[in-house]
């Protein structure tokens, strides 16, 4: 199979660095160029010594590398629409970050652009390629748990806003400045926007869509943010499965400009734990555990050192296969719309203080 000539764009997304190893090592890919959003993103990119040229203009990158077939759009959410349209115009396949856009009209525009251009647009939801989730899916499908009654899940992390400031900006993260509710000084665009995974996961584990959600925000544990950092959601799927989700930034962090050792204040940077209750049993899982642990440099605090992050390998494998074999990705724009709608419904519920139909 001819390697796919790939590029990365913007380099301001928190997941940017997680692609580097697989883009370098996978022989089905030829990583030919990168384009940074600004000088700062370029400086950080160069710390990783990828040996791939980095530009500051997308036009220049495509001019110098007209053979680019696909891009990873590692950008802030408010950049996605224009970038997807630009790629569609060029006939370049797109790996989109986890939130294409929260705006339904923009979402429709993206779908239209992608369909018209006939390009592959895969949405990055890496939990689909997590081996623990794969096992969980097998257990459910085996019928051992019987009919699924309830799903409880956490997708909690530290807040990335200090390294990736756009994630604390209502405009860049949510797409516009929408107050959480009357009288609340905060705006949409915080932790919820960072954590679509459990909203997505529940859809494909239960093979159902959201019926309604109820969501509440709590006082921020980071009072200097103008977006929410503590949020809970519960509700029901259309097939009757109830759920409880925590997509908060509930884990305290040090305010590092570049993610690295010492980011943690709480021992663990992130957690995706899922508990499923069925009529015949219960299964509880930690999608990123067990690990190794230390209290060494730089902060001498008990710290979880993660031992595996394979998700990006499987995700890129699927993207390459979809391009070469002209297949539709599992997580395509149309499918992902149901997840985005549920997240928007959470914000609607917060605003109205009532359950919101999805």
């Amino acid at each position: 199979m001819k390697p796919v000539k790939i590029a990365m764009v913007s380099l301001t997304h928190g997941h940017t660095r997680k692609y580097y190893q697989t883009l370098r090592e996978n022989s089905k890919l030829d990583w030919v160029a990168s384009c940074a959003e600004d000088e700062r993103a370029k400086e950080v990119y160069e710390l990783y010594k990828n040996g791939v040229p980095c530009y500051l203009s997308i036009d220049e990158m495509f001019e110098k590398h007209p053979d680019i077939e696909a891009v990873v759009l590692a950008s802030a959410n408010d950049k996605h629409l224009e970038q997807v349209k630009d790629c569609a115009r060029r006939g370049v396949h797109v790996l989109s970050m986890k939130i294409p856009t929260f705006d339904p009209k923009e979402y429709d525009e993206m779908v239209e652009a992608v369909e018209k251009a006939g390009i592959v647009c895969q949405v990055e939801l890496e939990m689909h390629y997590n081996p623990v989730v794969k096992r969980l899916q097998e257990i459910i499908e085996s019928g051992k748990l019987g009919k699924i009654l309830s799903v409880q899940a956490t997708n909690i992390t530290l807040s990335p806003v200090w390294a990736f400031p756009w994630q604390g900006s209502p405009e860049a993260s949510y797409g516009k400045r929408v107050p959480l509710r009357d009288g609340d000084p905060r705006f949409r665009g915080g932790a919820l926007c960072d954590h679509p995974h459990i909203f997505d996961l529940i859809r494909w584990l239960t093979k159902s869509d959201f019926d309604f959600v109820y969501s509440e925000v709590a006082p921020n544990i980071r009072p200097d943010l103008e977006v929410e950092d503590m949020i809970l959601a519960n509700g029901k799927m259309k097939n009757g499965v109830i759920f409880s989700l925590d997509p908060s930034w509930s884990i305290a962090e040090n305010k590092l400009k570049v993610p690295g050792p010492g980011w943690e204040v709480f021992p663990k940077r992130m957690e995706v734990n899922v508990t499923i209750t069925g009529e015949k049993g219960v299964v509880a899982c930690d999608c990123f555990g067990p690990n190794v642990y230390h209290n060494g440099a730089p902060n001498d605090r008990f710290t979880v050192q993660y031992t595996y992050f394979d998700e990006w390998i499987g995700l890129i494998d699927e993207f390459v296969a979809c391009i070469r074999e002209h297949k539709e990705p599992k997580i395509n724009l149309k499918w992902h719309r149901g997840t985005i709608d549920a997240m928007n419904a959470c914000y609607a519920s917060i605003q109205t203080k009532a359950p919101a139909k999805v």
Binding site: K144, Y293, Q305
Partner: protein, 247 residues
């Protein structure tokens, strides 16, 4: 171990990552103290596999030392309890890990044995680190292995077990009418293989990817075999087994 499937997976990795060197994973002789399989390399050599060196928890523990997250390591405390393994097999992995994570050769071992079921060894490395190696083959058949690897340094402690716990955690706990079942899945590309198989495939792939490892692992294997044999002898002769001098 399903060697046919393991070799198919090895070939897939070779193809995916464009590794030119070829080889085949073959079973080690029955009762051998090594990892249970070796790599028959296209270069004609049979290379002993040291799969724990590719196991991510050990790799990350070593990483903590290499990155100076743990500074000035003093002592390693390793323990492994298993069923269906010989003391030699248990000691082989743990002594190799002493040198791999401790990053210094073993210069002495003194072990006491409780029959053929348990061994407790104190190991010194050339750079004066001490290691406690506690092995037990006494778990009943079917029991899940218990092990723990702790690095104690002037700055920090690193461990593959969470603080305040005695037994390993799993990724998934399933509770049904059939009882409790656990799973720990660690490798997406090799999903479906047992943990033992995964690290053997990864180790074989590592040797094919980095051919310079072949001689390093051959040498390490030969050295550790002698040290395991000597450690088991200390019970009989009461003397410390010496392999060199401290720096």
């Amino acid at each position: 171990m399903d060697l046919t499937k393991m070799n198919a997976a090895l070939q897939e990795l070779r193809s995916k990552y464009a590794v030119a060197n070829n080889g085949e994973i073959i079973a080690a002789p029955c009762g051998d103290m090594g990892a249970g399989a070796i790599l028959k390399c296209c270069c004609g050599k049979n290379i002993p596999l040291l799969p724990w060196r590719k196991e991510r928890r050990f790799f990350e523990l070593k990483n903590l030392v290499d990155t100076n997250t743990l500074e000035d390591v003093s002592t390693l405390r390793f323990a492994w309890m298993a069923s269906g393994k010989t003391l030699a097999q248990l000691l082989y992995r743990e002594l190799d890990l002493c040198e791999f994570i401790g990053e210094s050769p073993i210069v002495s071992i003194f072990a006491t044995l409780g029959g053929d079921k348990t061994a407790n060894a104190i190991v010194k490395l050339a750079d004066t680190k001490s290691c406690s190696v506690e092995c037990s083959a006494g778990l009943p058949k079917g029991a899940e292995e218990i092990d723990k690897h702790e690095i104690i340094a002037r700055r920090g402690i690193g461990c593959d077990r969470v603080v305040d716990s005695q037994i390993p955690m799993s990724s998934i706990y399933e509770f049904t009418e059939d009882g409790e079942k656990r799973y720990t899945d660690v490798d997406t590309e090799l999903y479906g293989f047992s943990t033992e198989e995964i690290w053997l495939i990864r180790a074989a792939f590592e040797v094919l990817s980095k051919p310079e490892l072949a001689d390093i692992w051959i040498k390490a294997d030969s050295s550790i075999r002698k040290k395991v044999a000597a450690a088991l002898e200390t019970e009989k002769n009461g003397a410390v087994a010496l392999f060199g001098k401290e720096d």
